[in-house]
């Protein structure tokens, strides 16, 4: 029974896997809130968003697998940390609620216009994009509304929201690194969208002197290995196990 696969890196497979890994890892992070969110309503909201993202990942892995000859489960469970090409941003730990919301907002403000732009092209990913944009539109709205309330809420919620932005901003430039045969999102458009919300939220956009990267090339922060250890545990321990 195979316990680790290697994946041929065609341009389409690389693109689909990068988008799939982003969605799966962020979806997994959000699923960690299940049963732990501040209120019941938000517990369901975060779980819903997690399921949207994992659904997107499944479609993208299925597409990538058709190119490389793997199943979606093999791509999710049988690759090692260095083979995952997700953004460093999405693997960052949940932190407090403000950090979770800020992470979702910064990613959604990028991926929502991305899916819309991609859905309008004639790409192998266009059908997936057309479905995903309805989900990402809600993720952006939900995270933006919360960020506004946290930033413009109490002194403590403002402090936490600003601290989350300060912590996460050095992971945002990586989103704009080009992938093969991909549509490009103008960083200036993203910054303008982010600024609009941050102004409402009375938060300050950080200007970090230095930006992390390497996620697309498999060079991850120390957090991804722990996430994969938990996510892949069952398939690693009982290879080929099914429900």
């Amino acid at each position: 029974m195979t316990t680790t696969i290697t994946v041929a890196a065609t341009p389409l497979a690389r693109l689909a896997l990068a988008r799939a890994d982003d969605a799966l890892i962020l979806g997994h992070r959000l699923s960690e809130w299940c049963g732990h969110a501040p209120i019941l309503e938000e517990d369901l909201s975060l779980a819903n968003i997690a399921l949207d993202l994992i659904g997107q990942a499944r479609s993208l892995y299925t597409l990538a697998g058709a190119v490389t000859g793997h199943t979606e489960d093999q791509l999710a469970y049988l690759r090692d940390e260095r083979q995952f090409s997700n953004l460093l941003l999405v693997e960052q730990p949940n932190g407090d609620f403000a950090l979770t919301i800020a992470r979702l907002f910064l990613y959604s403000a990028y991926i929502d216009p991305y899916w819309r732009a991609l859905g309008a092209t004639d790409s192998a990913l266009s059908d997936i994009a057309a479905k995903a944009e309805k989900e990402s539109g809600y993720h952006l709205r939900h995270s933006a509304e919360w960020l506004i309330r946290l930033g413009d809420g109490t002194e403590e919620s403002h402090r936490r929201a600003q601290s989350a932005l300060d912590r996460l901003f050095p992971f945002t430039a990586e989103m704009f690194d080009p992938l093969p045969d991909d549509v490009a999102i103008d960083p200036a458009d993203w910054t303008a969208e982010v600024d609009t919300i941050l102004t409402h939220a009375t938060l300050t956009r950080p200007s970090p002197a230095w930006q992390h990267n390497g996620g697309r090339a498999g060079r991850h922060t120390e957090h991804l290995g722990h996430l994969l250890a938990e996510m892949q545990h069952l398939q690693r321990t009982h290879p080929g196990a099914t429900w």
Partner: protein, 95 residues
Amino acid sequence: MSTPATPLWEVFIRSRSGLAHRHVGSVHAADATLAMQAARDVYTRRGEGLSVWIVPSNAIIASDPADKEMMFEPTASKIYRHPTFYEVPDEVGHM
């Protein structure tokens, strides 16, 4: 959890075109925008809705349970108000 920061909102959902909104439950939320999102996330996860209404729970005017006899018992003896004494022609179809 009920705190003054997140008051209660009643949620009404219309499941199909042509039907009325029906009360499905309630959510706690800080304001109307978040209440709408909470209602969507809690009550429409399985394709239940096409439209959602949110009403602050404290805006509901409820009948007084103590008035139950005066309010509702007089109708019990007026069965002629039920439209069950008419033959509905088949051509009318579903009403």
